[in-house]
Symmetry: C2
Subunit: 402 residues, 2 copies
C-alpha cells in the first residue's frame, strides 16, 4: 500500500499541497482538495492506479477547473485518493488505503471520490473537486453525509481531467455546506447572478423510493413531508413509466442503457490503455474488468440508442420549474469489508446504479443533500432538474432547504 | 513526406481499408473514410503527426462512432489525412502532403479535415467522419463544395476520438449529398424518426455577411433570395448586437471567448503531451504553437466566462423553429501556398473564425450547404439552429433546399 500523509487521520490525502489563490474572488478564504484524476501541475496524476502514475509524467498545467477555483480565491490543500481508474462506487482502495468515513468510521466512504468525501468530512477542506460518471460524486456525498453535486453533462470543462467516459462523465463538487457547494459550483459553471426561477412542481420519483431499503424510504418520505409543510409546496409522486410514456421502467436507465454506454466508452479510454500496455491491476478492479473484456460491443450499440431516447423523454417531462427528488443511494454505507460476496456486491451496485442512472441518462444536474440519518448513519436526499438547469436547481435547493 | 497510397489521385488516403459492415441498416451500400484522429482498431492513429503515431500503439477498438456506422451498414474504405494535431483550418500538410481540392485543384482544401473533404470530393467515399473544433469540418466542406455538419456539442460520442478541446470539439460529417449527410448523421445522433417541426423564422446574420468578401456576400444574398422566393419563407436580417442585447459583437465570439477556451484546453491535452515528451513538430504547427506557449492562462479565464454568457444569449434568441444562416467561410479557397505571409494568414484565420465561432460558442448544430460558386470555386452557405436542435436543423435544411 502506498503511504499517504502520516498526519492525516482521514487517510484521504495522497499529496499535501498549499497552492495559493491566484486572484481574489467569491471563494476567498475557502480551501479545497482535488481528486487524483484531475491534473495539478508538476505532480503526477495517479488515476487511483500506481501503474498509471508510474507511466505518465507530471502534467505541465493544472486542469482548467483547478485554475478556475484558484483564480476565484480558493486555496488547494491536497490531492486525495480515488478508486482505481475511478471505476467503483465503494471507496475501498487496495493501493492507497480506504479513506475514513468521518460520520460512520466503521463503514465504507463510497467511491470513486472517496478521498474527496473523506477530506471534507474530516474538515481538511471546505470542498473537494471530483468527478461523477455512475455516481462517483453523489454516492460518497450521500454515504458520508455531505453536500454533493453532479452538474449537467459537459457544463464544466474537462480539460486536464483524465478521459474516462466522454458521454457520461462530469466534474463534480463535494462540500461541507450548501453555501460552499453553491459558490464553488457557480465559479465552475461560470454563472452570472441571474434571476432564480420559482419552483412550479416538486416531484418524488416513486421507483427510486421502491428500490431503497424500507427505512431509507420512510425517512425520505418523512423529510419530504416536513419540507413540503415548511415551504407550502406540495410533493407529487411520479413513476418512471409516467415520465417515459409507459416506454421504460427506472431500471432501464441502467441496464441496457447507461451501463452499456459506460462500458463501451471505457473500452476506448482506460480499456485501450490496459490492453496495449498490460499494467499491474488491483484485485477488485481486475474482477470488474473481466466484464469489460468479455463485453459484447456489437450488442451494446442498441443500448446507446435507448440512452438518447431516455434523455429526450426525461427532459420533455422535466419542464421549467420542475424539481424531482429521490434518495441518492438506496442504503446507508455498508460496513467496511462487507462487499465480499457476489450477492452483496451485486445488490449494492444494481440498486445504487438504478437510482444514479436517472440523472446519468438525463444528463441532469443533481444535488445530494445530507438530510437523512438512520441510526446515526447518513443518507442523502437528491434533487434534480432538467439538463442545463443547474442554476435553477441550486436556487431551488436553497429555497427548499434554507 | 510520408507516402500515401500511390493509386490515390486525391492525396487524401493515409491507409486504404476495407472494413465490412457489421450489420445491415440505413447506411447499406454507403462507403466512408475516417479522419486520422479517430481510432480504427489495429491501426495506429497519427493525429496528423508522425511523432504522435510513432509513440502511440494501435488502439484495440474502433472509436464508438465508427462502430455505429459499421453497424448501420456502411463500409469503411480508409483513413484520411488530417492537419497536424488537427490544429489548422487550411489543410496544407507538410508530413502527409496536401490533399487535393477536387473542385479547385490549385487551391487549398481547407482543414483540418482536409483528407475527409478530398476523399469525398474525389468520390472515394460517400461521406467521411471527422471532427470540428474551430471549423475543421465546416471549412473544408465549404472550400471543397461539399455538405458538412458540425452537430451540437457532445451529441455524438467522442470515445476513441483523440482528446483535443473538451468544451469545443465535436465529431462531424462531410458528405457528397444532403441525403447521405442526413442518414449518416442520424445514425450517430441516434435519432428516432420524430416529427419535423415547421420553420418559424429564417434569419441571416448580418455581421457574418459583412466579414465576407463582397462577392461572397452578393452570392449569398442572391441564393437566399432565390430560396425565400421558392419556399415562401421570408428572410429577416439580424445583427449580433440584437442577438446579444447589445452586449457583444460577432467578433467577440472568437477573440477573448472561444479562441481562448480553445487554447486553454489545448494546453491541457496536446500541449501537455508536447511539453512532457518534446516531439518533432512541423514548421507551420511550431509557429502556431509559439502562441500557445506564450499564452496568458490567467488572463484567459475571463474569456471562458464570456463563452458561457454568449452561449446563453445565442440560445435564448434562437427560439424553437428558428434557422439562422450565413456564409460558412468569408472567402473561396485561397491558392495553395498563398498563406505565406503573416498578413495573409491573419486575414484568413481571423475572418473565418469570426464566423465559425458563432456556432462554436453557441454549441449549435450547423450545416454547410454547397450552394455558392464564384468563378467555379465553391463556398458554403451555412444553416444553424439552437443547441440540441440537430434533427430540426436537418429537416429544415431538407425543406429549404429540396
Amino acid at each position: 500500500m502506498i503511504a499517504t500523509s502520516s498526519h492525516d487521520l482521514s487517510g484521504s490525502i495522497v499529496t499535501s499541497l498549499n497552492l495559493a489563490p491566484t486572484a481574489q474572488g467569491r471563494l476567498d478564504g475557502l480551501t479545497f482538495t482535488v481528486k487524483d484524476n484531475i491534473d495539478i501541475a508538476e505532480h503526477r496524476t495517479s488515476y487511483g492506479s500506481p501503474a498509471w502514475r508510474a507511466s505518465h509524467l507530471p502534467p505541465v498545467e493544472n486542469a482548467l477547473c483547478v485554475d478556475q477555483l484558484l483564480a476565484a480565491g480558493a486555496r488547494c490543500v491536497g490531492k486525495v485518493v480515488a478508486d482505481e481508474f475511478t471505476y467503483s462506487l465503494d471507496g475501498e482502495s487496495q493501493f492507497f488505503g480506504t479513506p475514513r468515513n468521518a460520520k460512520a468510521p466503521d463503514r465504507i466512504p463510497g467511491g470513486s471520490s472517496s478521498g474527496s468525501a473523506s477530506s471534507v468530512g474530516h474538515a481538511l477542506a471546505n470542498f473537494s473537486i471530483c468527478t461523477d460518471s455512475g455516481g462517483s460524486t453523489r454516492v460518497p456525498a450521500s454515504l458520508c453525509g455531505l453536500w454533493g453535486m453532479r452538474p449537467s453533462l459537459h457544463r464544466i470543462s474537462e480539460a486536464g481531467v483524465l478521459p474516462f467516459m466522454p458521454s457520461v462523465s462530469t466534474v463534480g463538487i463535494i462540500a461541507d455546506s450548501l453555501s460552499h457547494l453553491d459558490s464553488s459550483m457557480r465559479v465552475l459553471l461560470r454563472s452570472g447572478s441571474g434571476q432564480a426561477h420559482p419552483i412550479k412542481r416538486l416531484l418524488v420519483l416513486a421507483d427510486a423510493l421502491a428500490v431503497a431499503d424500507n427505512v431509507v424510504q420512510e425517512h425520505a418520505i418523512k423529510a419530504l413531508e416536513t419540507l413540503s409543510r415548511r415551504t407550502g409546496i406540495p410533493v407529487q409522486t411520479v413513476s418512471f413509466s409516467e415520465i417515459s410514456d409507459d416506454a421504460y421502467q427506472l431500471k432501464d436507465c441502467n441496464l441496457e442503457a447507461l451501463r452499456d454506454m459506460q462500458t463501451l466508452e471505457f473500452q476506448n479510454t482506460v480499456g485501450n490503455w490496459i490492453e496495449t500496455t498490460k499494467p499491474d491491476l488491483g484485485f477488485t478492479f481486475s474482477m470488474a474488468y473481466g466484464n469489460v473484456q468479455s463485453f459484447n460491443r456489437q450488442k451494446a450499440l442498441e443500448s446507446i440508442v435507448h440512452c438518447e431516447r431516455l434523455f429526450e423523454l426525461i427532459n420533455a417531462y422535466l419542464t421549467p420549474g420542475t424539481v424531482i427528488c429521490f434518495p441518492t443511494t438506496p442504503v446507508i454505507a455498508p460496513m467496511k469489508g462487507s462487499l465480499n460476496t457476489m450477492d452483496a456486491v451485486t445488490d449494492f451496485y444494481d440498486r445504487t446504479m438504478t437510482i444514479t442512472a436517472f440523472s446519468g441518462v438525463g444528463r441532469l444536474p443533481e444535488i445530494s443533500a445530507p438530510l437523512l440519518s438512520i441510526n446515526g448513519c447518513p443518507v442523502g436526499l437528491s434533487f434534480a432538474a432538467a439538463h442545463y438547469q443547474d442554476e435553477f436547481l441550486l436556487s431551488a435547493v436553497h429555497h427548499l432547504l434554507a
